[in-house]
Symmetry: C2
Subunit: 395 residues, 2 copies
Amino acid sequence: MQFTEEMFAKHMRPITGSAIRDIFKLLARPGMISFAGGNPSNTSLEPEVISRLAVEALDKYGTTLLQYGATEGFGPFRESVAEFLRGDGVNCDSTQILPVQGGSQAFDLLLKVLVDPGDVVLCESPTFLGAIQAMREYNATIVDMPTDDEGVIVEAAEALIKKHHPKLMYVIPTFQNPTGITLSLERRKALAALASKYGVVIAEDDPYRDLRYAGEALPPIQSFDAEGWVVYMSSFSKYISPGLRLGAAVVKNPLLLRKMVIGKQSVDVHSPLLNQAIVDAYLRQGLMPGHLERICREYRKQLNAMLAGFDHFPVGTRHTVPQGGLFVWAELPGEMSAVKVFDDAIGESVAFVPGIHFYADGGHENTLRLNFSMCDIPTIEEGMKWLGKVISEKG
Amino acid sequence: MQFTEEMFAKHMRPITGSAIRDIFKLLARPGMISFAGGNPSNTSLEPEVISRLAVEALDKYGTTLLQYGATEGFGPFRESVAEFLRGDGVNCDSTQILPVQGGSQAFDLLLKVLVDPGDVVLCESPTFLGAIQAMREYNATIVDMPTDDEGVIVEAAEALIKKHHPKLMYVIPTFQNPTGITLSLERRKALAALASKYGVVIAEDDPYRDLRYAGEALPPIQSFDAEGWVVYMSSFSKYISPGLRLGAAVVKNPLLLRKMVIGKQSVDVHSPLLNQAIVDAYLRQGLMPGHLERICREYRKQLNAMLAGFDHFPVGTRHTVPQGGLFVWAELPGEMSAVKVFDDAIGESVAFVPGIHFYADGGHENTLRLNFSMCDIPTIEEGMKWLGKVISEKG
């Protein structure tokens, strides 16, 4: 017999994931200036440190790190992560920490344990494209919440909750991907109150929080939640290393934590112990504050170079001015199209992601996401100049 | 509002996963003799070797291992795994290798991309309890295939395929978990032919293959499949380390591989690169053959000690005589119950897993699974003596 597309589960058939992957393939071309990814800069990565910590961890824990471990996580890692997150204002203890394979897996597990096919999940519009793909794979009905310069518009969110009775809401409150926008303090409080009032689990995806270059840190939504409706999702991908694939979910509701543990158990049993021990040591040895200070100092300069580069863009272009994170979001004048100009930009060796990919229903062809962490300052300046030129001429 | 069980997705509500977890908690008691787990022996683990390989890998590849990588896997790992698996008779090249978080994730991805709620999945009866849990989480209808001393009975399997038109069949052909039984050569060929004739994907879960203590290795089912219907699932958990959480799926059908990659992408983006590089180095440095020889030598003795220990069991007890793997399966005389005797065995400090947990529909209370890899020979002898005594008296 012949294997055909019809053999796939219905929800998987339309998911091709190809557009973004095709973009990332282009990045391998020599001389390509990439504003497309979401990677930390190579200079922020510390192979010598990770190597030393791996040796120390295997020396200290021996075969324990190589045996099976508990799905709930490696004890020392849970403790040091709880302490680290408390420093960020997250209300938690170590028994509420679930190690995950990057923040994505925390959201995947929430979808798995909460969502029946067709159930509504609320998310920001635009939002992280990986989250859109995950919601599709669980056959969720994606409903967009309108946003403005302060993030999710709370009144609109409440109206959507009343209308759709969603079980789950996905929010990236700090330096959002793709827009770089930060949810205001009042709205953080208001979303926590909505979660509790209507019984909606909020997946608070907060992997960029400590990459702040200006302004004051805001408490997480989770800190305003007394009842355990908010699941806080952190990740060490942007702080230490994406290649280690390690994040942590904070789940205060024991019933929900238990079900997520069961969900994780049958996928991967547990997160790799060596990786948990390396990040544990990184935190315990106090390496994080100095490291964050160093990378924020560099990223701040890169962000500023990118913002200055908008001088080359057409009159009428609007863009966000993020206080941190990895992304700037731009809206070209309404009649222009970032999709149309994409091939020409690649021709000039500058890559970006058209904003259309961050909307579940597409559209918004005049928007684009630009990442500044992967390029040094001369490259950012050159890339913005060429991109501005191409958009002005062909957009 | 109050969070209640009714908020969970329907398929997750009945899954509590508690029975086995409760057993594993008991193992922490001092003096407990454990025949319950499926762990490799602690003496087989090599923290010094893994430590050295981690240093070498980070030295060689530097920041590459700490950045994001491709979901499809780390190039050198894909190459060395393809070569390793070809040595085991698997028909593959490196582009068909997908790194996964232990073999479990390969099956999870197959369920995710193939199974609509209610779809039938065929599996052996009894089978790996993690697979039962995974099938439930995807709301699959589990249909058992009858087995005998040579594994799945092919005629029965064909009748079930005709009746249920399943998309997926799950088989552990070598030293099966929980029975230790190996599927015969003729049946391997026959199952491959069924897959192709009826268009059924076979998930061939083969993590114990190289733990052979007697007899001749048989070619994998996959080697008889010319059309790409068989997905071969291997794992380094039993050979090198479960804590590293690394396995590999061989997916010859590019359409299916592509969809599995998409499914993995939104869960964990990719498997950790450091872990892939460590296993790659392990294989490239030629460490595997000598290591397997050493651990098989020990496991063979442990298996023999366990088999001898059945002398203490009641007359009428039947048990398998596996040629490899980690488990022996026992059937007590029909009127006896391994479930009933469990608490008394724990009282005598001997733990095992009642066979009931390996059947999707329960029953078979007179069966039990015994693992021999975690205990040294005097401990196995002592444990079997006590267990035989308890069963004889209370079973």
